[in-house]
C-alpha cells in the first residue's frame, strides 16, 4: 500500500504544480515582480501575490508577469504615468490624465501596434455606458476639444481606466466658433492629440513639436542629432545667419540643430493651438481656423520674423525633408521603410519616426525606466536597448508584451 501512496504523491505533485509549496521567499519575489508592473504595493498575503508566487515557484515568471499586466493598476498607474511624462513640456506626471495618455493606455491594453501612436486616426475616451454614476463631462466640443475636462474627470482615482476607455475612430477637431466639429484631415496618433499640441504648438514656430517628437519617441535631445554638415536650405528667415555678427557661430553651432529641426517642422506647417484647442488650417468650414494662415493654409507664425534673414526658407506648404539621414544620424535613427527622405504633413512624419529602429529602442528605454525604476543609458547599455527594441518589433510592437519582457530581465533587478 505504501508504494501506491508514494506514486500517488509523485503524480499529484507533477500534475498539480500549483500546490507545490509556496514559501515567503516565493511570495516576496512574486510581490516584487507584481509591484514593478502594477506600480503599487501589495500585501504579502494577498491572493494575487499567492497566485503569482505559485507561478514563480514552478519557474513560470513569464506567467506571473502576464498576471500583473492584467491588473487595473498596471494601466491606471504604470502605463498612465509613463505616458503623462511624455505628454507635456515639463515631462512631469503631476498633470491630470489627457487624451495623449488615454491613447497610450488604450493601445497598450488592446495590444495594437504601438506605431499607430504616431500615425493612427483614432482617439480614446471614456465609454458613456460605463460612466453612469460618475461625474464625467462628455461633451465633445466643450470637454474633449476645447478643454481637458473629460479626461481630468476620468482621473478621479476611483474610475478604472483600463475598463472605461474605449477606442473611437477618427480625431475630431473644432473648425469654427460655433463648436462645429469635423474629422482631422491629417491624423497622426498622439502627435495630433490636444495634449501634445497644447504643450508644443502654442505660439512659437512649431519647432518644439519636432524637438519633442524626437525627445519623447526617439529618446534623443536636439543636440544629439545636430548636424552642421547637412543642408541649410530649409532653415527659416527668422534664424540669424550672423548671430552677434559672427557667421562662423551660425555655421558651427546654430546650423547643426536647425538643419534637422527646420527640415522637419514643415510637417506641422498647418497646425496651431489657439483659444484652447488644436487647429488645422485646411479643415472645411474654417472661419476661425483659416485666420492667421496663408491661402495655402500655412500658419503665419511659420514665416514670422522674416526680416532677420530675408534669404532664408519661405514655407509655402506642409512638406518636410529629412536632414538627419546622413552619417551617424542614419545609424542613430535606423530609418526604415518608404518615404524616409521627405513627405507631406504630420502623418507621414509620424510614420518616418515610428518605422525607425530608434522608436522601438526608445519605447524599450521608456518601459525599462517605468518598470525597473532606474534609467537605461542608451550609450552604456546600447546592447540591451537594441535587443529589447528588436524583441519589441518581432512581437508586433505590442507595448504590453514589452513590459512583460523587460520586467523579467536581470538588468531590471
Amino acid at each position: 500500500m505504501n508504494w501506491r501512496l508514494s506514486i500517488a504523491a509523485v503524480l499529484l505533485t507533477v500534475q498539480c504544480p500549483a500546490i507545490a509549496q509556496v514559501s515567503d521567499q516565493h511570495r516576496q519575489e512574486a510581490k516584487r515582480l507584481l509591484e514593478r508592473l502594477v506600480g503599487a504595493k501589495l500585501p504579502l498575503d494577498h491572493a494575487l501575490v499567492a497566485q503569482a508566487a505559485a507561478l514563480v515557484a514552478t519557474g513560470d515568471r513569464a506567467g506571473a508577469a502576464k498576471l500583473a499586466t492584467s491588473q487595473p493598476n498596471f494601466y491606471n498607474l504604470t502605463v498612465k504615468q509613463m505616458a503623462l511624462r511624455m505628454s507635456n513640456r515639463e515631462e512631469t506626471l503631476r498633470v491630470p490624465l489627457n487624451d495623449f495618455a488615454a491613447s497610450f493606455i488604450g493601445v497598450t491594453r488592446d495590444e495594437t501596434d504601438a506605431r499607430e501612436l504616431l500615425t493612427g486616426n483614432f482617439h480614446y475616451k471614456g465609454n458613456p455606458n460605463l460612466l453612469t454614476g460618475f461625474n464625467v463631462r462628455q461633451n465633445i466640443a466643450d470637454d474633449l476639444l476645447a478643454s481637458n475636462t473629460h479626461y481630468s474627470d476620468l482621473d478621479n482615482g476611483t474610475i478604472d481606466l483600463s475598463t472605461v476607455l474605449m477606442r473611437v475612430a477618427g480625431q475630431p477637431l473644432l473648425i469654427d466658433d460655433n463648436k462645429n466639429i469635423a474629422d482631422n484631415l491629417d491624423p497622426a496618433g498622439v502627435l495630433t492629440s490636444r495634449a501634445f499640441m497644447a504643450a508644443h504648438a502654442v505660439d512659437g514656430t512649431n519647432r518644439r513639436l519636432v524637438e519633442f517628437t524626437f525627445r519623447e519617441f526617439a529618446c534623443v535631445s536636439i543636440d544629439q542629432w545636430a548636424d552642421t554638415a547637412a543642408s541649410d536650405l530649409r532653415i527659416g528667415r527668422d534664424i540669424d545667419r550672423f548671430p552677434g555678427g559672427d557667421h562662423f557661430k551660425f555655421q558651427t553651432s546654430c546650423k547643426g540643430c536647425h538643419t534637422g529641426m527646420d527640415g522637419f517642422r514643415g510637417a506641422f506647417a498647418k497646425w496651431d493651438f489657439r483659444n484652447n484647442n488644436a487647429i488645422l488650417s485646411t479643415m472645411k468650414g474654417t472661419g476661425r481656423a483659416q485666420a492667421n494662415a496663408s491661402a495655402a493654409g500655412v500658419m503665419n507664425k511659420m514665416n514670422k520674423n522674416n526680416t532677420v534673414y530675408p534669404g532664408g526658407y519661405v514655407m509655402t506648404d506642409d512638406s518636410w525633408v529629412n536632414n538627419a539621414s546622413r552619417g551617424t544620424n542614419a545609424l542613430l535613427f535606423g530609418w526604415n521603410g518608404a518615404g524616409i527622405d521627405g513627405g507631406m504633413g504630420v502623418q507621414s512624419f509620424g510614420r518616418l519616426v515610428a518605422n525607425s529602429k530608434r522608436f522601438s529602442q526608445c519605447m524599450a528605454v521608456r518601459v525599462f525606466e517605468a518598470v525597473c525604476k532606474k534609467p537605461l543609458d542608451p550609450e552604456k547599455q546600447k546592447g540591451l536597448m537594441m535587443e529589447l527594441g528588436s524583441t519589441f518589433e518581432r512581437n508586433g510592437y505590442k507595448l504590453k508584451g514589452l513590459f512583460e519582457t523587460v520586467v523579467l530581465r536581470s538588468e531590471c533587478h
Binding site: 510581490k31 500585501p43 498607474l77 530581465r409 536581470s410 533587478h413
Partner: protein, 223 residues
C-alpha cells in the same frame, strides 16, 4: 464641542508617536543581505533556471511617487475605494509627495505628508474593520473595540502588528521593531488615566497611532 485636556494630550501623543515610529522604522540600519535572504528559489535574475541558490536584494532602490503612495496605502490596508476624507487628504498632500522615484527626493515635507495621509487611510481602515465581526477582520481580529485599552490582551496587539507588518511592509516584523511598538503601547497607556483606559476610544486611538506609524514607515513607500 470642547475637548478635554486628556483627549488633546492623547491625540498629540498619538501624532508624535506615529511620527517617531515612522522615523524609527526608516530601515537605515538594515543590512542589504542577511542569511534569511538566502533562498532555494530558482535564479530570479536569469529567468530560465529553476535550481540554484540566489540571494535576494532587499536594499531600497526607489521611492513610490505621490499617486503610487496613495494607491499603495489603500491596497495594503484592503480598502478598495477611498473615502471622501482620504481623497481630500491626498489632494492636500500630493504636492509634497515625490514626483518621481529618486531616493534623494526624501525631505521633511514629504515625510509629514506621508504621515498625514497614512493617518487618514488608517482612519478609514479602522472604521471599516470596527464595523465587521471580529472573525471577518483582516488586521484586528482579536481586538474588542468596545473595551478600553486596559482590557486589550498583549497577544492581540502583537497579532495585529504582525498582520500589519506583513501587509504594509511585505515581511514579518523584526524583534527590535516589535519591541519598539510594544514600548509605544506602554507609553501610550501611561499617558491615560485609569478612567480613560476603560474608554473604547483609547483602543481605537492606540491602533490609529500604530497603524499610521507603520504605514508611514520607509518600507511602505519605497521599492
Amino acid at each position: 464641542m470642547s475637548l478635554s485636556k486628556g483627549f488633546l494630550k492623547t491625540f498629540v501623543f498619538c501624532g508624535l508617536a506615529a511620527a517617531a515610529i515612522a522615523v524609527a522604522f526608516t530601515n537605515c540600519g538594515r543590512p542589504s543581505w542577511s542569511a534569511a535572504d538566502y533562498s532555494s528559489l530558482h535564479d530570479p535574475f536569469g529567468g530560465l533556471s529553476n535550481i540554484g541558490t540566489k540571494r535576494v536584494n532587499t536594499t531600497p532602490y526607489a521611492l513610490l511617487n505621490s499617486e503610487q503612495v496613495y494607491k499603495s496605502m489603500l491596497n495594503v490596508t484592503g480598502q478598495a475605494a477611498p473615502t471622501n476624507a482620504q481623497i481630500t487628504e491626498y489632494g492636500r498632500r500630493s504636492g509634497a509627495l515625490a514626483a518621481s522615484g529618486e531616493l534623494d527626493l526624501i525631505n521633511s515635507p514629504m515625510l509629514i505628508g506621508i504621515s498625514s495621509l497614512a493617518g487618514e487611510v488608517c482612519n478609514g481602515l479602522l472604521a471599516k474593520e470596527i464595523a465587521l465581526a471580529a472573525d471577518q477582520r483582516q488586521f484586528f481580529p482579536g481586538v474588542n473595540f468596545a473595551q478600553g485599552i486596559g482590557a486589550l490582551p498583549a497577544a492581540s496587539f502583537d497579532d495585529s502588528v504582525h498582520r500589519m507588518a506583513r501587509s504594509f511592509w511585505g515581511r514579518d516584523e523584526k524583534p527590535e521593531e516589535s519591541a519598539a511598538l510594544v514600548a509605544f503601547r506602554a507609553d501610550f497607556l501611561s499617558t491615560l488615566t485609569a478612567q480613560q483606559q476603560t474608554q473604547s476610544a483609547s483602543t481605537r486611538n492606540l491602533f490609529l497611532g500604530t497603524c499610521a506609524g507603520m504605514l508611514a514607515s520607509f518600507d511602505a513607500y519605497t521599492y
